[in-house]
């Protein structure tokens, strides 16, 4: 049984909230009583997701946001506080995968794109969330890194670089804000059944049976297993957890 948190009266923000781990986490926050801001670059998908949650009786706001634009990120936080008055929890989850490439042949455009979204996007999101949270002197942030933030993988240097960067951001900012009542951690999902991983399989970027064989636990993860980790990291019980990069990966990075 999953823990039942009570986040009534609190406000949660999730980027990349239209599908996969972001959507599962937004839903879990809402089920725990939080008002939830769902942000995504895909307006239609995030709007539909928010409508469904609203129809189920949850307090939600959907926003279009390309996290690679700091202006859009700043506007996202402004709209969040304009609507709900505060920001207590954030899951900076928006991210992209790029095609497998020989490191010697990687195009600068591809390197820039993955780092703009994955790395700079988390940087900008955290920066503007902290501007609100430091006024409140409270809050919890979870940045979405990856198994790619902990280990290497041939052909994926730029992606893994972006995800390693997130852990460095997380640890440094966590140290800076621990004395100010704000906790910052990262979650490192393994290979999770999400639209992103489905795309990788469909585009021959990942072999499905090999992916399962590579998991010590013998299966891929589920989006709700990431949501469970994010909610716990945001919960009062995790009050001593600061600057951690928590692998939720079925043992992938234990090796």
């Amino acid at each position: 049984m999953n823990p039942r948190y009570d986040f009534t009266g609190q406000v949660a923000l999730v980027t990349g909230a239209s599908s996969g781990m972001g959507l599962a986490t937004a839903q879990a926050f809402a089920q725990a009583g939080a008002a939830v801001v769902l942000a995504d670059i895909n307006s239609d998908a995030v709007g539909t997701a928010a409508e469904e949650m609203s129809a189920a009786g949850h307090q939600v706001l959907s926003l279009t946001c390309d996290v690679s634009s700091e202006d859009q990120v700043a506007a996202m936080i402004d709209q969040t506080t304009a609507t709900f008055g505060r920001l207590d929890m954030a899951f900076n989850n928006a991210g992209i995968m790029v095609p497998v490439t020989d490191a010697a042949d990687e195009k600068a455009e591809q390197f820039d794109r993955v780092n703009l979204v994955n790395y700079r996007g988390v940087w900008a999101s955290m920066k503007h969330e902290l501007r609100q949270m430091r006024n409140q002197a409270s809050g919890a942030i979870v940045n979405c890194s990856s198994l790619g933030g902990l280990v290497g993988n041939p052909g994926r240097a730029a992606y893994h670089g972006s995800k390693h960067g997130i852990i460095g951001l997380t640890k440094s900012a966590a140290l800076e804000y621990a004395p100010r009542g704000i906790r910052i951690n990262a979650v490192c999902p393994g290979t999770i059944e999400t639209p992103m991983v489905a795309d990788m399989i469909a585009n021959n970027q990942l072999d499905a049976s090999e992916a399962v064989a590579n998991q010590p636990i013998g299966r891929l993860g589920r989006a709700d297993e990431i949501a469970a980790a994010v909610l716990w990291l945001c919960s009062p019980g995790a009050s001593l957890i600061i600057g951690v990069a928590l692998p939720v990966d079925g043992g992938y990075t234990a090796r």
């Binding site: 049984m1 013998g218 980790a229 019980g237 600057g243 043992g251």
Partner: protein, 257 residues
């Protein structure tokens, strides 16, 4: 909230906790009970075990106090056998019994002190794992958490035996996790930072100056509470952590960053 078998993150489970007569072990045993588990309270200190068991019963839980020296294989086997006899099976184990080293430079550590620290902290965790794992496999899986330390991932000086033992616990945890990941048996470690326990009192001398000296290492500006470790251990043992295995989770207020 009263303990209940029907409610909670560990409803209906049976848990075995070593080092349960005080500190993190006692608090976690209580947290397990509050989350619905029946708890075997194991420690070398049987009076302490009985106190912990009484505390569990006072919140409506079920407990078994069992004397256990984790350095003795026959003690570990007997304690686990008693647990299964009393409660029917085993689902969760928190291998937490440990001992702190007399601080000092490496060449000054006596061979006896080295052996004592390695035996209690590392061999004790191994013996517990060795005899818990078959019981959990029989049950179709479960979750184990071993207590490592901040000294299991970083070092602080003047504690080579303790650091070696606690680093060893992390290696033991990860390798064992790989061995049983495919069998629905998850094995993780917890790495507590500076936690306000009797062990920490022995380390600091319990004086305001001693306490301030260790608190100065804490970015959050305070010692951690045993309850904060207990919450992490409960989470790791719950179904919410179903995709988490082989990890050494640091709960230290940022001390080792």
């Amino acid at each position: 909230m009263p303990a209940s078998e029907d409610y909670g993150r560990l409803a209906g489970r049976v848990a075995f906790v070593t080092g349960a007569a005080s500190g993190i072990g006692r608090t976690t045993a209580l947290a397990f009970a509050r989350e619905g588990a029946k708890v075997a309270v194991a420690d070398i200190d049987q009076n302490g075990n009985q106190d912990t068991a009484r505390m569990i019963e006072e919140v409506g839980g079920q407990a078994l106090a069992v004397r256990c020296d984790v350095t003795r294989s026959e003690d570990v086997q007997a304690a686990l056998a008693q647990t299964v006899e009393e409660f029917g099976h085993l689902d969760i184990a928190f291998n937490n019994a440990g001992a702190e080293q007399q601080p000092g430079p490496t060449a000054d550590i006596t061979e006896e002190e080295w052996d004592r620290i390695i035996t209690v902290n590392l061999r004790g965790a191994f013996l517990c794992l060795k005899y818990e794992i078959p019981l959990l496999l029989e049950r179709g899986g479960g979750a184990i958490v071993n207590t490592s330390s901040g000294a299991g991932i970083k070092v602080f000086g003047r504690g080579a035996a303790y650091a070696a033992a606690k680093h060893g616990v992390v290696g033991l945890t990860k390798d064992a996790a790989l061995d049983y990941a495919a069998f629905n048996l998850r094995i993780n470690a917890i790495c507590p930072g500076i936690i306000d326990t009797e062990m920490m009192d022995r380390f600091t001398g319990g004086t305001p100056e001693g306490r301030d000296r260790v608190i100065a290492q804490e970015p959050i500006g305070r010692m951690g509470k045993p309850e904060e470790i207990a919450d992490a251990v409960v989470w790791l043992c719950s179904d919410a952590a179903s995709f988490v295995t082989g990890h050494a989770l640091v709960a230290d207020g940022g001390q080792t960053l």
